[in-house]
């Protein structure tokens, strides 16, 4: 029975180590994730912090300079309201286009977002568009 108890202690130690790693990992690496509405409401509290913001690339605001790899666009709600300027330098993601849903990871510095990374959600968005009939062959 003594051995059994020792094993429980061993197992608990492993579980504790895993829990600690998870806890510390989340503490140091986690990032707020905001939908556009939340972001607009709470951005004042999070100036200078790393954030992820999900929104839509507003129609007619995308400026891409292939020579310098600078991208600027407005991130907005789906209907184009509440635009927030986004600045990004780097490779233009293949799926990036006006009207698409994107997640911007970066820092909020008034008045806009300085993006480190832009994530486009490809197939799901692609299919969703079609279901709405935007590119539907029958539509």
């Amino acid at each position: 029975m003594l051995n059994q108890r020792r094993f429980v202690i061993g197992a608990v130690l492993i579980a504790a180590a895993v829990s600690y790693l998870v806890y510390a990992g989340i503490k140091t690496t986690s990032v707020y994730y905001f939908e556009m509405d939340e972001f607009v409401a709470r951005r004042a509290d999070h100036a200078g912090e790393d954030l992820r913001v999900k929104g839509w690339v507003k129609q007619g605001t995308m400026q891409w300079d292939a020579a310098t790899n600078r991208l600027a666009f407005d991130l907005s709600r789906k209907d184009g309201s509440e635009p927030v300027p986004v600045a990004y330098t780097g490779i233009l993601p293949d799926m990036f286009a006006e009207g698409r849903e994107v997640v911007v990871e970066g820092r909020y510095e008034t008045p806009g977002l300085k993006a480190k990374q832009i994530m486009t959600s490809c197939p799901s968005k692609y299919e969703a568009e079609r279901e709405q009939g935007a590119t539907h062959p029958g539509a």
């Binding site: 051995n3 059994q4 020792r6 094993f7 061993g10 197992a11 492993i14 579980a15 180590a17 895993v18 790693l21 998870v22 510390a24 990992g25 989340i26 140091t28 690496t29 986690s30 990032v31 707020y32 994730y33 905001f34 939340e38 992820r52 999900k54 300079d65 292939a66 020579a67 310098t68 790899n69 780097g90 490779i91 233009l92 293949d94 799926m95 997640v103 994530m119 486009t120 959600s121 490809c122 197939p123 799901s124 692609y126 299919e127 969703a128 079609r130 279901e131 590119t135 539907h136 062959p137 029958g138």
Partner: protein, 661 residues
């Protein structure tokens, strides 16, 4: 025809439901004939699902754009093999495909056990048919692949260009095979719990199935990583995306299960634990399917956001409740007397290996669902990314690698100092020597260095096992070395197959560690003729070549690769612009060698200024991950190959015996 397909699906669902009822009734009332009718209904389900899938496939191949599914996922210009792949390329088709694979496995299991496991089989059938009914129910009531468009489309919208890749032919089917075949050990576990036959009969019967499922999960994960690496063009192979995690978690738990069953077989311990692992593997496969389809957690490569989420959650809860309830109900019978005597024993090493594997699975799970949990608890979504997973899993992976060396060679029950010396003197020596040599060669101390040292230690234990097995046989039977080695492997296929798999895993560990820690990434905007450096390579952008066909237009950058002033290669990373749908894609140019990959991406090209932005990654030892996969496949083959004794047992039973039964 599509109406027939729908009819086939509906009938299949009815057959499956009948099969559940008949199998359970037959098992409870001990009526052989009723059980048999349940079995036959399961066969019929398989037949009907085959018919339905064939009709959908035919609709795809004949470009019947009156079907919503066909119009959405294929086109008349899509090559035939991608048209076939469209069968599982979309949500609806993939669910039907799942049902197809599951009913096929059900049929296979029933045929394998036609003369065996009389008391388990009705429950196995009932369980597998319950899972089948869930998927067929979704296909029948929620997402009908045979749905017609109000007006037939003239042309299809085509398969997503990102999916138009040969990996589409192999990655999803292998992952589905792994996912779906995990249902078989699960069904036997449920059968053992329901019938009260809790010995290790169910484990012996499903041993191969568990290994089969594990193997295809391994392949599915590896193929997915290769696909991401070759196609997505961000220089890596694993991004800890929720969908990747969804495939990784069942693999981890299934790995733990494969190891802990050995303890049950040898020592009759850990019965409850094994039950939990097998149930967990299955629920994680369903959870994975749920993650990819529900849109609950945003991911780069999920299916359409759909209303399927609640059904999956419901089914998951149902499975957990039934399985958990059965485990609790049988708990008194599941308890065993065996205890672990010492920390320094094989039992302990296996148990700790299990805990670490499940710990990794837990960490991955937690990181994956954390956004959802934090939203529930704190009302705000908090996400974690690759840094979290890397930070947590690197130390756990190191621990796992260490245990992989210890487990197979440490003595059972209690290792004495003499045992330990005999088992570990050589491997530890080899590992330490390798670590010192690597330090002197300039490899900095850290995760990668530790992984290499431990890798050599594990390889040392394996080499020692092969050597000792061979020598023992030589001493006893005076065989020549190659013959003795072949025989000793042939007589202990599972054990030595397992060692070979371990070699493959070590190779993958080394590749992952090296390519994560020592990778070089350079992004440079250059004009024609300009050079830049990436690692030991000098790259010169020579020109842009354009070409165009009906399907797409492509711009390729011609890049000359130099090492020490001599040209060794010319690479052509490419941007493609698909015409339908209008979308650019990246075609990576990868120069792969055993030492490192030179991985080039054409980031952008500006025709006005004639400036190209090129990303160059130097990823060391990536090939070793893929080679590790080949070694794992080879090891699995050794492990599952029937031994001579088993082959003799497999002689078919005469027809009369079947009828008499």
């Amino acid at each position: 025809m599509p109406e027939l397909g729908r009819l086939a699906v509906c009938l299949a669902l009815l057959c499956a439901l009948f099969s559940i009822g008949a199998s359970i009734t037959g098992a409870l009332r001990r009526r052989r004939d009723v059980v048999r009718s349940g079995t036959h209904a399961a066969y019929a389900t398989f037949g009907l699902v085959v018919v339905a899938a064939a009709i959908l496939l035919q609709a795809l191949l004949t470009h019947d754009f009156s079907l919503e599914y066909v119009a959405a996922y294929s086109s008349s210009t899509l090559p035939t093999y991608y048209t076939v792949a469209a069968l599982w390329g979309g949500q609806k088709g993939s669910l039907l495909f799942w049902a197809l694979v599951l009913t096929f496995f059900t049929t296979l299991v029933q045929w394998q056990n036609r003369e065996r496991n009389r008391e388990l089989m009705p429950w196995v059938t009932a369980t597998l048919m319950t899972v089948t009914s869930f998927f067929l129910g979704l296909v029948t009531f929620i997402t009908d692949p045979f749905e017609r468009l109000p007006t037939p489309a003239v042309e299809g919208a085509d398969l997503n260009p990102l999916l138009q890749n040969y990996w589409m032919m192999i990655h999803p089917p292998s992952l589905y095979t792994g996912y779906v075949s995990a249902s078989v050990p699960f069904a036997f576990a449920i059968a053992a719990l329901a019938s009260g036959k809790l010995g290790d009969q169910w484990i012996r019967t499903t041993r191969r199935w568990a290994l089969f499922s594990w193997f295809f999960l391994t392949l599915g994960n590896l193929f997915g990583a290769m696909w991401a690496y070759e196609v997505l063009g961000w220089g890596g192979y694993w991004a800890w995306d929720p969908v990747e995690n969804a495939a990784f978690m069942p693999w981890l738990v299934s790995t733990a299960f494969l190891h802990s069953v050995m303890i049950q077989e040898k020592k009759d311990m850990l019965r409850v634990w094994n039950m939990v692992l097998v149930l967990l593997t299955f629920t994680l496969t369903i959870f994975g399917t749920f993650l990819t389809r529900s849109g609950v957690i945003s991911s780069v490569h999920s299916f359409t956001q759909s209303g399927l989420g609640p059904f999956f959650i419901g089914f998951l809860c149902f499975a957990i409740l039934v399985a958990g309830g059965l485990v609790v109900y049988r708990l008194p019978e599941l308890r065993t007397a065996g205890t672990i005597e010492s920390f320094f024993s094989r039992e302990a090493a296996f148990l700790f290996n299990n805990l670490v594997l499940v710990g990794i699975a837990f960490a991955v799970f937690w990181g994956t669902v954390f956004p959802v949990i934090s939203e529930w608890v704190r009302g705000v979504k908090i996400t974690v990314g690759p840094p979290f997973f890397n930070r947590v899993n690197a130390p756990l992976g190191i621990a796992l690698l260490f245990l992989m060396g210890v487990g197979p060679v440490i003595a059972w029950r209690r290792a004495t100092p003499k045992n330990l010396w005999r088992a570990f003197a050589f491997p530890v020596g080899a590992g330490v020597a390798a670590a010192v040599v690597l330090l002197l060669a300039g490899v900095p101390f850290g995760y990668a260095h530790t992984t290499f040292g431990l890798g050599v230690f594990v390889l040392g234990t394996i080499a020692q096992e092969f050597w000792r097995g061979m020598r023992a046989r030589q001493a006893l039977l005076h065989e020549r070395a190659p013959q003795a080695l072949a025989r000793v492997i042939g007589k202990n296929r599972r054990r030595y197959g397992g060692y070979v798999i371990h070699i493959g895993i070590v190779m993958a560990f080394v590749g992952v560690a090296a390519s994560s820690v020592f990778r070089v990434e350079v992004q440079q905007t250059v004009k024609q003729g300009e050079e830049f450096k990436a690692g030991r390579y000098t790259l010169r952008f020579d020109r842009i070549e354009n070409r165009e066909d009906g399907h797409m237009a492509a711009s390729a950058a011609v890049v000359s690769v130099f090492v020490d002033g001599t040209q060794i290669d010319t690479l052509m990373p490419e941007k493609r612009f698909y015409k339908k749908p209008k979308q650019p894609t990246t075609e990576v140019a990868n120069r792969s060698t055993l030492r490192e990959d030179l991985y080039l991406v054409l980031g952008s090209y500006d025709p006005q200024s004639k400036l190209a932005t090129i990303l160059a990654y130097v990823n060391p030892l990536v090939v070793w991950i893929w080679l590790g996969g080949v070694v794992i496949a080879f090891g699995t083959l050794i492990a599952v190959w029937p031994s001579a004794a088993e082959r003799r047992v497999e002689v078919p039973v005469p027809d009369r015996a079947v009828r008499a039964g």
